[in-house]
Amino acid sequence: MTPIVELRGLTKRFGAFTALDGISLAVAAGEFLTVLGASGSGKTTTLRLIAGFDLATEGRILIEGADVAALPPFKRPVNTVFQQYALFPHMSVRDNVGYGLRMQRVPHREIGPRVTEALEMVQLGPFAERAPRQLSGGQQQRVALARAIVNRPRVLLLDEPLGALDLKLRRAMQLELKDLQSKLGITFIYVTHDQEEALTMSDRVALMRGGRIEQLGAPRDLYDRPRSRYVADFIGETNLLPAVANDRDPGMVTVAGPAGPIPVRVEVRADGVRAGIPLWLSVRPESLSVVAAAAPAASGDGAGNSLPATVREIVYAGSVVKLHLALADGTTIVALRSPSDPPFASGSSVQLRWPASQGVLVAD
């Protein structure tokens, strides 16, 4: 299947600064793709190039197979939901939503029903005659959404659309957006810095770093198989244990213990991992179990790893208890336990255990 949006070697330089460094990416029709990254990673630049607000320094942008890189925004078959909504303050909600249709010279008798339909889709039917400033942030966000989808674009670009909303509203809107996307079958290219949002909503996530795509994949791939230390750290919460590769056995690494290096078994290794460079073993907090130091070795789990640690702090967080621990070399470790598990005292010596399949060896 031909991708609906394809970026080839897309580069954007502002003077000496390279905002986007030759990224290539293919988006399938109907896909929910999230471009995730810290500020300055190039995610918004990517979106602005696709929309046409900025022109690429190099590279091609294909929408439905046609190169649009030289076209102005109003000639591109995409619509955008802006971060601060960018609603026209001097127009009513209805006129805002109908703007794109009027500009496309859609027959007048069609505009009214389509605007009404779009407003009802975002549950704003009764607010059609209001001015944008008379609406709450969440409502304005919906107007921005309606103003874009009323044009029935093949691709919708969303630039941190929920960034200005409070947490509770944001969660609700995430589900609503996802629902709307599958109902309309529009391709979403969604920019956010919120990794949780990216994991919740997306079919695929492109994690950007320094103007490049660090990793592209399903949320699960990024979480379970990060291809670098940066990805492991950015997506979700993780523990990063400095590790040294074993020259003879690629399935083994050593980490610092109280009396010298302790061998640890690793089943998942990211690309680019080799001996002689700094490596980390990434283990998610929920993969770790904490047992008393004197407990017998776990039975049956031959691939299990075990590491001594000291309990530093115990944080109660409602559904879980967060244990902050320290390894022999001072590395801080977070582990999750159930509030019903037998508690540990701060300062007590314990064993950290995890199956070899749950650790990922990554390079920087």
Binding site: F74, F82, Q84, A86, L87, P89, N151
Partner: protein, 271 residues
């Protein structure tokens, strides 16, 4: 609200009151005099006549001067808008060498004493050989029209520039994203957003032109403007008719200011 009645607050009220009295009492007196039923001003005033307004309406040279002032002000507004609005956009959106210096120099005609601007413009027009009465009676004279337009362009430019600096460019991007070309975007999004600032600045230019004496004095040809006509009449003393004319000018200025502040308020309410 709790009221403070310490001596400092009382002193502030008194000084503020004095300042306002100093500004507005003379205006009140002008208005009172214009209603005084005698050509000799003497207290106690005999108020309640509109006869001086009648005299004013039948004074052909005064009417001609008033009409010339209005034409002059309207033309000055048109010129200042035609140059100042595009100028403000250039300042806001493009970089060019010397932009910083230009942005400051643009205010120069307003900051310089009118007498210097007047002399400079007079020398310029005599250098290019444009007669001060050219264009009369269609206009009070092209030099004075161009002079007002040029001097007041800076007002439009700075006001509109200030508004453009606060204008959210994402609105233009949104318009472009919604299939409007640059021209449609300008007329449907940008201009409606800055319209109150443009109209406000135009009203300000209108009143400034209407009151202007110094530059006008140098550039005026055969036809006096209203302020210059009044100035001429004053040589014969302050007549009730002068007071009536002053009252009319005051009323027009007040009306303009009220309109202007309403526009500013409308704009604020929208943001």
């Amino acid at each position: 609200m709790p009221r403070r009645s310490d001596p400092l607050t009382a002193g502030l009220w008194i000084s503020a009151g004095a300042v306002f009295a100093f500004i507005y009492a003379p205006l009140a007196i002008v208005i009172l005099y214009s209603l005084h039923d005698s050509s000799i001003i003497a207290w106690p005033l005999k108020l309640g006549t509109l006869r001086w307004y009648g005299v004013l309406v039948h004074d052909t040279s005064m009417l001609a001067a008033g009409w010339a002032s209005v034409k002059l002000a309207v033309l000055a507004v048109i010129i200042a808008l035609a140059v100042g609005v595009p100028g403000a956009f250039v300042l806001d959106r493009y970089d060019f060498p010397g932009k910083g210096a230009f942005r400051r120099l643009v205010m120069l005609p307003l900051i310089l004493p009118g007498i210097i601007t007047g002399v400079a413009l007079l020398s310029f027009f005599s250098f290019v050989g444009l007669s001060l009465s050219s264009g009369f009676p269609l206009v009070p004279g092209w030099p004075v029209v161009l002079g007002h337009g040029a001097a007041l362009t800076s007002v439009i430019m700075t006001q509109v520039y200030a508004r453009l600096q606060r204008f959210d460019r994402a609105l233009e991007e949104a318009s472009g994203d919604l299939y409007a070309n640059e021209w449609q975007t300008f007329w449907r999004v940008t201009l409606p957003s800055i319209r109150p600032a443009v109209l406000g600045a135009a009203l300000l230019v209108f009143t400034l032109s209407l009151d202007e004496i110094a530059v006008t004095f140098f550039l005026i040809g055969r036809q006096n403007t209203l302020p210059l006509q009044l100035w001429g009449l004053l040589r014969r003393g302050i007549t009730p008719e002068v007071n009536a004319a002053a009252t009319v000018i005051f009323a027009v200025s007040l009306l303009t200011i009220v309109l202007w502040s309403r526009m500013i308020r409308d704009e604020k309410g929208r943001e």
